[in-house]
């Protein structure tokens, strides 16, 4: 009910799922929020619709007849810039990670609540619609990150981070609330030839945590998504452009 401002032009959501019940449920939920909804029951049909209708966001089920959700994701990413949310079943970790690495932006595990799906959709749209560069600072708890000055303060005290530590933290913070796979971190911070070097990433994350997390407490800023990657918690006021 407390939806963000009703957009001037309805936002187009493409739902690709082979299950009739899920498609119907998502259509009624999304239409009730004034989204413009297109439905596809196969990957092939989904790709066609994506080309015809250029949706603002795609919700893609991974288990599809015909071409798989993974393949659909890959082919969609060849030309499509908008966010993609993956729907996966429990325990299909490998597929989930592969999809995220192929360029999907987030995932939800079935069954999920409508509230969660809507929140993810809003978060992703916000990120892609609002220019990224306007976010110059992120605050979460006692932590402040200034992207322009490349400085980090914890409880008001400046913390010295190495270039790599800052880049890791910055990438996570800019994707606050969203999982970032190890592969994505390695590729963007170290470079594409380092994507398999998860051990290096672990060491740097461990140093980073040591500097920014409170001693004797559990990590609150750099959270592990087991088997997938890392996540920065949803920032207190993500729209705060400083």
């Amino acid at each position: 009910m407390t939806d963000i401002s009703a957009p001037e032009r309805p936002i187009r959501v493409l739902v690709i799922d082979d299950e009739e019940q899920i498609r119907r449920a998502l259509r009624s939920v999304l239409q009730a929020r004034h989204y413009d909804v297109d439905l596809a029951e196969t990957g092939e049909r989904g790709l066609e619709l994506a080309a015809e209708r250029t949706p603002d966001i795609v919700v893609l089920d991974l288990t599809l007849p015909g071409i798989s959700g993974l393949e659909a994701c890959e082919r969609l990413r060849d030309w499509y810039q908008g966010p993609i949310i993956i729907l996966s079943v429990r325990n299909a970790d490998a597929d989930k990670i592969a999809a995220l690495d192929l360029g999907a932006d987030d995932y939800l595990t079935k069954p999920f609540s409508s509230g969660e799906l809507l929140a993810r959709i809003r978060a992703l749209l916000r990120r892609t619609q609002g220019p990224d560069t306007s976010v110059t600072e992120v605050r979460s708890g006692d932590l402040r990150i200034d992207f322009a000055k490349r400085t980090v303060t914890v409880r008001g005290k400046a913390v010295r981070l190495t270039r790599i530590e800052f880049d890791v933290l910055a990438l996570l913070a800019k994707n606050a609330g969203r999982v970032v796979t190890s592969r994505m971190l390695l590729e963007s911070v170290w470079g594409p030839e380092y994507v398999a070097d998860t051990q290096t990433l672990r060491v740097h994350v461990s140093h980073l945590r040591h500097k920014i997390e409170a001693p004797g407490d559990v990590p609150r800023y750099v959270l592990t998504e087991p088997g997938v990657g890392f996540r920065f918690p949803e920032a207190d006021d993500p729209q705060d452009a400083g």
Binding site: P111, S206, R209, P215, G216, D217, V218, T224, E225, P226
Partner: protein, 521 residues
């Protein structure tokens, strides 16, 4: 012992001859002064002694040699068989008769004594065997004992006990003693006995009453062409053939009647014992099967209850709204929908828990251990709790904790269960404390609440599937599977999960992982 064995070699005959010769030589110097009847008296102990040590036949021989020695050496004319007068003849004949009778009597006494000793050791064997039958825990130890005794008491070169292997196709050696080398044709003969239920090689046992011994055939009658010297006794009870006892005699002379009778008795007792063990095993298996059937049906009824209750509730609410038509008050619809969402949440939790548990139990969810910082795991656990609950969780984390090799996702799941449990059993906004500390070669992690605690009688049961403790009424909504899942996860990491009391009230769930947990993977 060595001296006695030497004397008794060659049936004791050289010994008897030697003894007579010695006595004769000792008496020759005195033959002029000693009356021949007196000399005769010196030979009597020799004959009796020979009878005692070597038996009747040897003593008879000694008597005859003594008779000749007396005649030749002590009765004039010396060195001639002829005897001068009738009295000497008479004395010699009487001597021979007395000597033979004395030898005979002493020898018989010796045989009886030997038989008594033997019977005693047989009795001891049978006695200890029957005692074992009552006390032995398994067929294997009974079999070990039997073959050891057959070797020890009968002096068999080799003893072995066979039964059908579990797939009933080949004989399987349950125990053996003495030589570990199989006798010629042993395997084939054992197989024949197991199939036919007849003994092989018990030829000497004809004097044993037919109802106390098995039907016996020669080895060559059983399997043409086989030459074997062993005795193969079926272990036969009224109902079944339990196995075969094999005894290979020490030499070609084979087994005596007594040996075979003893063997038959051992076989009978052994059969009873093995039969009893088999019946016990079968009973235990049947009971285990019954128990697992009972558990399965409990599980099925619990599972269907767990799944149907929230489904029934949601269905009732939704169909209720449908029934009321389109003019239902929006506030009421909203309220009902909130309830339906709650029902569905519970259904989802139950299905998820059941899936996890079945994957864990079927070993489909194997841990993939990696080096993990427990603080990191706890951070993930905390971030998954509802925001409102996060502030109730306090941490007590030791300064330095070594990394543990565990499956991050599984351990996070187990700890999440413990923390969620603690939160729901603690009243209101009471805190829940989570701690981590290194022990000598373990990492200990605990989750402590200020709830009602857990009765001693329930401390184990709370980990059972679908078991709900006395306090669960205050914390509805659980699936009854959480702790079972947590324990299963901890177990698959070679760790332990237990619960203890917190004073004045509350429960503390303690997880310990070996510091190198999972390294063996």
């Amino acid at each position: 012992m060595a001296l006695k064995r030497m004397m008794m070699s060659w049936g004791g005959y050289p010994f008897a001859v030697l003894l007579v010769a010695l006595v004769s030589l000792a008496l020759i110097p005195f033959r002029a002064v000693l009356a021949s009847t007196t000399v005769m008296l010196f030979y009597v102990p020799v004959i009796v002694g020979t009878a005692r040590l070597a038996g009747v036949r040897t003593s008879a021989t000694a008597a005859v040699i003594s008779f000749l020695a007396l005649d030749l050496l002590f009765i004039p004319p010396y060195y001639h068989l002829t005897v001068a007068g009738l009295p000497e003849w008479l004395a010699l004949i009487i001597f021979l008769v007395v000597a033979l009778i004395a030898g005979q009597q002493t020898g018989t006494l010796r045989q009886r004594e030997q038989a008594a000793v033997r019977r005693q050791s047989e009795l001891e064997l049978l006695n200890s065997l029957s005692a074992r039958i009552v006390s032995e825990k398994s067929a294997a130890t009974t079999a070990e004992f039997m073959v050891a005794e057959v070797v020890g008491v009968l002096g068999a070169r080799r003893a072995a006990l066979y039964m059908w292997s579990s797939n009933s196709s080949t004989p399987e050696c349950l125990a053996q003693a003495g030589s570990s080398r199989q006798a010629p044709g042993e395997a084939a003969l054992v197989g024949w006995v197991l199939r036919e239920g007849k003994a092989i090689g018990m030829d000497a046992a004809w004097s044993v009453p037919a109802d106390q011994r098995p039907i016996s055939v020669g080895a060559a009658d059983a399997i043409p062409g086989v030459v074997a010297d062993g005795v193969y006794v079926p272990l036969q009870t009224v109902e079944s053939l339990e196995g075969v006892l094999v005894a290979i005699p020490p030499d070609e002379t084979g087994m005596t009647v007594d040996d075979e009778r003893l063997l038959a008795a051992v076989a009978n007792l052994g059969a009873l014992s093995l039969h009893r063990h088999r019946l016990e095993d079968e009973a235990a298996r049947a009971q285990a099967l019954q128990e697992s059937d009972r558990l399965k049906s409990t599980l099925v009824s619990s599972v269907s209850h767990e799944l149907k209750t929230p489904l029934a509730a949601a269905t009732a609410r939704v169909t209720g709204l449908v029934e009321e038509g389109s003019d239902v008050d929006a506030a009421r619809v909203h309220e009902e929908l909130l309830n339906v969402a709650e029902d569905l949440d519970r259904l989802n939790a139950s299905i998820g828990a059941l899936l996890d548990l079945s994957r864990l139990e079927s070993d489909a969810w194997r841990p993939h251990p990696e080096s993990c910082d427990m603080r990191d795991v706890l951070g993930t656990v905390l971030s998954r709790l509802p925001a409102a609950q996060q502030s109730r969780v306090y941490f007590q984390i030791a300064d330095s904790i070594p990394d543990v090799m565990v499956d991050f996702a599984q351990v996070a799941r187990a700890i999440t269960i413990l923390v969620e449990n603690a939160l729901s059993y603690s009243p209101g906004d009471e805190p829940v404390t989570v701690g981590v500390a290194p022990l000598a070669d373990e990492i200990e992690l605990w989750v402590e609440d200020r709830g009602p605690g857990i009765e001693d009688t329930e401390k184990e049961r709370v980990f059972e599937k679908f078991y709900r403790g006395a306090a669960s009424a205050t914390a509805p909504g659980g699936t009854g599977l959480g702790l079972a899942i947590a324990r299963e996860i901890v177990r698959s990491h070679r760790g332990r999960l237990r619960v203890e009391d917190v004073m004045p009230h509350g429960a503390r769930f303690v997880v310990t992982f070996p510091a190198d947990a999972g390294r063996s993977e």
